[in-house]
Homo-oligomer: 169 residues x 2
Amino acid sequence: MRDQNPVKDMQRAELARRTGCNLETVRYYEKVGLLPAPPRTAKGYRRYDSGHERRLRFVMRARELGFSLDEVRALLKLVDERDQPCAEASRLASLHLAQVRAKIGDLQRMEAALSEAIARCGDGARPVCPLIEALSREEHGAEQLIVAPDAPANDGSGAGNKARRLAYG
Amino acid sequence: MRDQNPVKDMQRAELARRTGCNLETVRYYEKVGLLPAPPRTAKGYRRYDSGHERRLRFVMRARELGFSLDEVRALLKLVDERDQPCAEASRLASLHLAQVRAKIGDLQRMEAALSEAIARCGDGARPVCPLIEALSREEHGAEQLIVAPDAPANDGSGAGNKARRLAYG
DNA sequence: CCTTGACCCTGTAGTTACTACAGGCCTTAG
DNA sequence: CTAAGGCCTGTAGTAACTACAGGGTCAAGG
């Protein structure tokens, strides 16, 4: 049951439907080189087969694991070149895992700061909102709560600091 | 020590330096309405004072907590309109907190799937890479591992599913 | 035969939150 | 007087899509 229903000559809509991928995204992935350009009919219609479907599913799964398109490209290259890709794949995934863990840490610091601030608001009947005050304070802002303990709050360079942004999505 | 060094008539570079904000970002925040347009000199140069600095710091702290610019705008409106903002601020923060927690959950599922896959690679000397195989499998892809247990993997609509994307940054 | 609707094609513009120029004016120190 | 540094504007670039507009193609029904 490798290919439970091997299909030749699908159109884009069917490929999208079968994979759950957005229709436009299929074309986008072709444009940016993640999907090979499929053959065309005489009138220029794309014709996909199950090879394309497999490729697209690979890309989608890697995306679901949070790999960037550049990282997915690197993984696909490993798939295609296929000489002992395991060490390199493991390295790429480990790098990515480190980024995922860093983001989790950042978000957990945000979570702690937010839930503390919300707790201080209580039932919301305060005349002066502690949440807004926390954001307004001059001396010790939210950054004291959420910046990683070993990272200096401000290196003075002004531009280009916060290489790892704390604000996601 | 509210305003440890109240300053009038700074230029953009000084405001940026004092707050750690990127120079261009200051102008950007003005353009999108997060900072009020400051008065100008005869030659059109912006002149900021400590009120602008306070405002900018507020925005920066809210961003560090992961609030979107729209959310920051809503918080600023509460600051400005100031009639019992506590309940509303608390509501906004709670909504945001829920999003943060959802992202943490997503990232933790990614983390689990990634570390499991990496572990299966071992020392990377496998001839067939389990990581790449996991991404290539037809039947049970990574989505089985990382999609929330109560969320259907594919609702069949094709477009517009995965309202909450699993891939961040 | 014609029409209707569902596809298909291309290219472009929108999204978020910035960041980085290019091209030109202004100010100040040497 | 000139060179270096500020400032101004507007635009274009980033990631990863998403959504049109404007037009062509194709199969089925009347």
